[in-house]
């Protein structure tokens, strides 16, 4: 069963083609890493998959539904690249707010809040205004807000940028735990060592997906020893 199926997606902003005929599939229960240089179209693809943007042409199916349908949104979690928090509200108020938008009861939100603040190490900061938190703390809170409603499918746009190595490891442990519970995760990243942790990779360049497969597959195919090599080799093939 596919969590995501994208068929021939093209997205244009005026004359600029951000996505060019993208074909893309992701199975349920995978952690899929979307890799690519800046401007490759990763964020645009994520925005189309979670229904914030409309493709210029092509068809998208997410968990068997059209992501533009609001009714299916509670099954999806989204952590944008920007911190995307209300800076003048407290940590608690941000979590309450997003919990309420996903239709959770107050008790349920408070229960989830406890778990999430423990995992993100933010318990002490619950009643602090977000503007007073450090960048890393905001990032952790942003992740907590994306997880409050226990989504089946998670979109994480560069979830570990600015997160210290210790916490990054903790994030990944949590991702694997969610994966075990059947959650599918799509994340974008620049870090190759992070890409190695994904169960599946999709490489993007200039609005196209140029390769997809498990990290091991891709290395074998290109007879490269590191993912970095894979990326460079495939890139060179493209240029020719």
């Amino acid at each position: 069963m596919d969590a995501i199926r994208a068929e021939r997606i093209t997205k244009k902003f005026g004359d600029f083609v951000a996505l060019n005929n993208v074909e893309f599939r992701m199975k349920k229960g995978e952690i899929l890493g979307l890799l690519g240089p800046n401007g490759a179209g990763k964020t645009t693809l994520v925005k189309i998959l979670n229904g914030i943007m409309k493709p210029t042409s092509g068809r998208v199916s997410v968990l068997g539904c059209d992501p533009l349908e609001r009714k299916m949104r509670h099954r999806i979690g989204y952590m944008p690249q920007e911190t995307a928090l209300y800076l003048d509200n407290t940590v608690h108020e941000n979590i309450m707010f997003f919990g309420e938008l996903y239709g959770l009861s107050k008790d349920k939100i408070l229960k989830r809040e406890k778990e999430l603040l423990a995992f993100t190490n933010l318990e002490k900061w619950r009643n602090v205004i977000v503007a007073n938190l450090s960048g890393g703390m905001r990032h952790r809170l942003s992740l907590a807000c994306a997880l409050v409603h226990e989504p089946e499918l998670l979109f994480l746009d560069e979830p570990t940028v600015g997160v210290d190595p210790e916490l990054r490891t903790a994030f990944w442990e949590y991702f694997y735990r969610m994966q075990k519970d059947g959650v599918s995760i799509l994340l974008t990243t620049h870090y190759m060592e992070e890409a190695a942790k994904c169960t599946m990779l999709a490489l993007m360049r200039s609005g196209k997906i140029i390769a997809q497969g498990t990290p091991a597959d891709l290395m074998a195919k290109t007879s490269a020893t590191t993912l970095e090599d894979v990326f460079l080799k495939i890139g060179k093939v493209m240029e020719r």
Partner: protein, 384 residues
């Protein structure tokens, strides 16, 4: 549409302002400062207005009126004695032409002229002859507030003079003043305060919404919110209710302070007054969201201020009535929603009008609110 989503937005926005004490102080203090500064500098209680008096009145001619009780009666002198010198600084001239020159040269605002038969004409009037005494004012009318102050002071002085001569009942002096609304002690500040409060509600909601939404877009919270099950209408309504509540609280505090500090008189139905403030707030909140689409950052948002402030200050009747703006610009005033708000609030708070007088203004404001809320919901619903 789900009420819980709407309430979530309202609650979050109110929490935000609860944390932001400085903005809270701003929305209360600025209007009060405006009432204080504008209310007193523009107020009808102008002081020490230079006027010139030319009095040729020769007093009562006893051969014409042998039965007049007071043989030494001189009405112009008693009027002049009654003038409040705090309000009018009087200089006496003997020649009308030199007095007129003083006004021409900007040294005085008015000539107050009593002709030589002033008292006799008055005496004739009350003795059954068909004459009436006339005080002639030659005015520099460039400042209507001062003109009004002069008119008022002369009228009152004449009234007091007649009263002290016990001739009030038949007074044929041709300065009369009637009050339909307000009273002799209605001050400009009483008239001005409802206008400033409406203006403050409009400014605060428009500006704060533009800035909030510019931030919503820039911080990515708007994208995040639109990726949840919440519908854009719920976003806009949630904000509108939050701002409506903020506007009502703001108005309550300003009104209370205005009454306590400046002794503003309010005669009308406060519930109706707050309903109008709520509508001004929600309508301009929607307008703010629409405008925010045209600004990429806070700096660009601030550039909207002159476009919002000037038309409202100049054309909505805040300082002077819409009737007194140039005829070419008057049609524009119909398109400024604040105008209807100010009209309604003045009617309610100064004149004590009820729904039967202000329903039209309330309808216009309600239509404006519905239109901007619908428009901004559509704007947010539009996907790239």
């Amino acid at each position: 549409m789900r009420a819980s989503h709407v309430i979530a937005f309202t609650k979050r926005t109110l929490h935000q302002f609860r944390h932001d004490r400085r903005t809270l102080a701003f929305i209360i203090v600025v209007p009060l400062l405006m009432i204080l500064i504008f209310g007193y500098t523009f107020s009808g209680e102008v002081r020490h207005v230079n006027v010139v008096v030319v009095c040729e009145d020769t007093g009562l001619n006893t051969t014409l009126f042998p039965y007049f009780p007071d043989k030494n009666f001189n009405l112009s002198r008693s009027i002049l004695e009654q003038i409040d010198t705090e309000v009018l600084a009087v200089t006496y001239y003997s020649e009308l032409s030199t007095a007129e020159r003083a006004v021409e040269e900007g040294n005085a605002w008015a000539v107050i002229y009593f002709n030589q038969n002033f008292t006799n004409e008055f005496a004739g009037g009350i003795s059954g002859k068909n004459t009436s005494a006339n005080i002639k004012l030659i005015l520099d009318g460039s400042n209507p507030t001062i003109t009004a102050a002069i008119m008022k002071e002369i009228g009152e002085a004449a009234g007091r003079a007649l009263e002290s001569a016990k001739m009030k009942s038949q007074s044929p002096v041709s300065i009369t003043q009637d009050y339909i609304y307000g009273s002799a002690d209605t001050r400009f500040i009483d008239y001005f305060a409802p206008g400033v409060m409406s203006f403050a509600v409009m400014m605060v909601t428009t500006m704060l919404t533009i800035i909030l939404f510019v931030n919503e877009r820039r911080n990515g919270t708007l994208h995040r919110v639109l990726a949840t099950p919440a519908h854009p209408v719920e976003v806009v309504l949630g904000y509108a209710i939050a701002f409506g509540i903020i506007c009502i609280c703001q108005s309550i505090v300003i009104l209370a302070a205005g009454i306590l500090i400046f002794g503003i008189k309010v005669v009308g139905n406060l519930f109706l007054a707050f309903l109008v403030f709520f509508l001004i707030g929600t309508g301009h909140q929607g307008l703010g969201i629409l405008l925010s689409a045209g600004a990429k950052n806070e700096l660009q948002a601030i550039q909207f201020i002159p476009f919002i402030i000037f038309p409202s200050v100049l054309l909505a009747g805040l300082f002077w009535p819409v009737e007194s703006i140039p005829a070419i610009l008057q049609p524009l005033a119909y398109f400024i929603p604040l105008r209807y708000g100010i009209d309604a609030e003045r009617g309610i708070m100064v004149r004590g009008w009820g729904l039967e007088h202000v329903w039209m203004q309330i309808c216009v404001l309600a239509i404006f609110a519905v239109a901007t809320i619908a428009g901004s919901s559509m704007l947010l619903n539009k996907k790239e």
